[in-house]
């Protein structure tokens, strides 16, 4: 459990990092389609910021508990 947890968190971090630099961002390097009025590359960064946040949040809840309500 512990090993799997660290592996998954590490993978998530690596994936998010690579998505934002070469080579991950290469596949998003275009203007169309625009999303929410933003050129696709701009949206791509907005998206991965969210993915990073959600992944870390899940990892936090698994490890440190979700507070009194969970």
């Amino acid at each position: 459990m512990n090993k799997t947890y660290h592996l998954l968190v590490g993978l998530h971090f690596t994936l998010c990092t690579l998505a934002m630099i070469w080579p991950g961002a290469l596949i998003a390097n275009r203007i169309e389609p625009t999303v929410l009025g933003l050129p696709f590359l701009f949206f791509w960064y907005i998206l991965w910021m969210l993915v990073l946040f959600v992944g870390m949040w899940v990892a936090y809840v698994i490890r440190h508990g979700g507070g009194r309500h969970e």
Partner: protein, 482 residues
Amino acid sequence: MSDSLIIIGITLTYLILVLWVGLRARGQQSSSLEGYVAGGRHVGVVILFFILGAEIFSAFAFLGAPGWSYQHGAPAFYILAYLSLIPITIWAMGPRVSELGRQKGYLTQGDMIADHYQSKPLGILAGVIGVLALVPYLTIQIAGAGLLFQAATDGLIPFWLGALLAFVVVAAYVFCSGLNGIGWTNLIQGIMMISIAWFLGLSISGRLYGGVGEMFSQIQLTMPEYLTMPGATGMNWGYFSTAVLVSAFGGAMWPHLFMKFYSADSGKTLRKVSVFYPLYAYLLVPLLFIGFAGVLVFADDPLTRADTVLLRMVMDVANFSPWVIGLMLSGALAAAMSTGANLAHTAAIVLVRDVVGPTMMKGASEKAVVSATRWSVLGLSLIAYLFALANPASLVLLLLGAYGLIVQLFPMVIGALFMPQLRRASVMAGALAGSLAYLLLEFAFSSPLGWHAGIWAMLLNIGVVAAYQWFSKPVLTPSTPR
């Protein structure tokens, strides 16, 4: 003239408010060193979030981010990328740093390094690199404040006076209240700059183009090169990617970020702060809009300094009332001052505890150390102010330069936290080789493949550490204090 007076009035009111909050936060803790430096190690999630966020969200973010999107276009996403990746290092190393600090009473990077490697010189070296990196960064904030004041008041308050005003306020509350002052003022400054940034970003694109979507479609029609890599200035992926990596993972090496790990009330708090940290990067999004808005506006008559684009847009193009300009000035000053407060505080602590403490102030009482730290806050702010008057270099280049140097502490810190088998001689050789290589690549030769010089220096650093570990077997059993 009366417009300028309204602007100055709003801004001075804001400065007084910040000063009042900062001085009130003094409390009872700031008389002890641990209280002055680390808030007694009792800082909770909300305040820590604003402390960590506001110090990254600096004058560079407020002026430089729109400057980049105006000048380069898409390469400005570098800022979004590195800001949102910084929490990875907070997540990975923060809890361990906080735990060690609590157990052994560490307050700086130098403390930890000197104790772990049983070497005072190594702690002093870390301290010297820290101060060398922090002072230029503080200079950027001061220069930013001066530039803002001068531009927003049409020169009624000149550069030197504007810079002085903002930093007298900061130096005053840092001097008196230490980290508590920084925490409470950053809460206000954070909220201030977030709301101003979003307001300006949306209303400028709305006023000029009728919305964000319309703005980007117009840019796409006439100047599509701004919207994808390599941008308008042809920045290659190699430089872009390595600059992101250096800034994101070197970011946690910055003493002012690293030392906040000690102030957390628990490792769990740090994890929670890092979870929400990527959201801080969203605050920059509207500032990038402003830069993009400037691409078409200034197409025929480009600005000589890209980092003035926010000011020009707000003051000359969008025709806001002086009230809005006053708020804009306050928000931008908030960005410069909140970061500057952290930097002055950290630089003073590093100077006194890591550099002066083990040399000139051996065996000094805690009271003397706190007092020396306070006076160093004033001294270093003054030095940075004088630098700001002398050197108006581009904000972003200075920032990238300073970041590169501090990253060279990375292997040393990793060794102290997670790899006790790394020996003193190897990490010391690595850091020296890395720093030297960085300075040469940055200022004497051009960096191979056009990558960020910090990456090459880091690779050399790690290479030297590994080679040293491999070839010089320990003569004695290495002392690895647990």
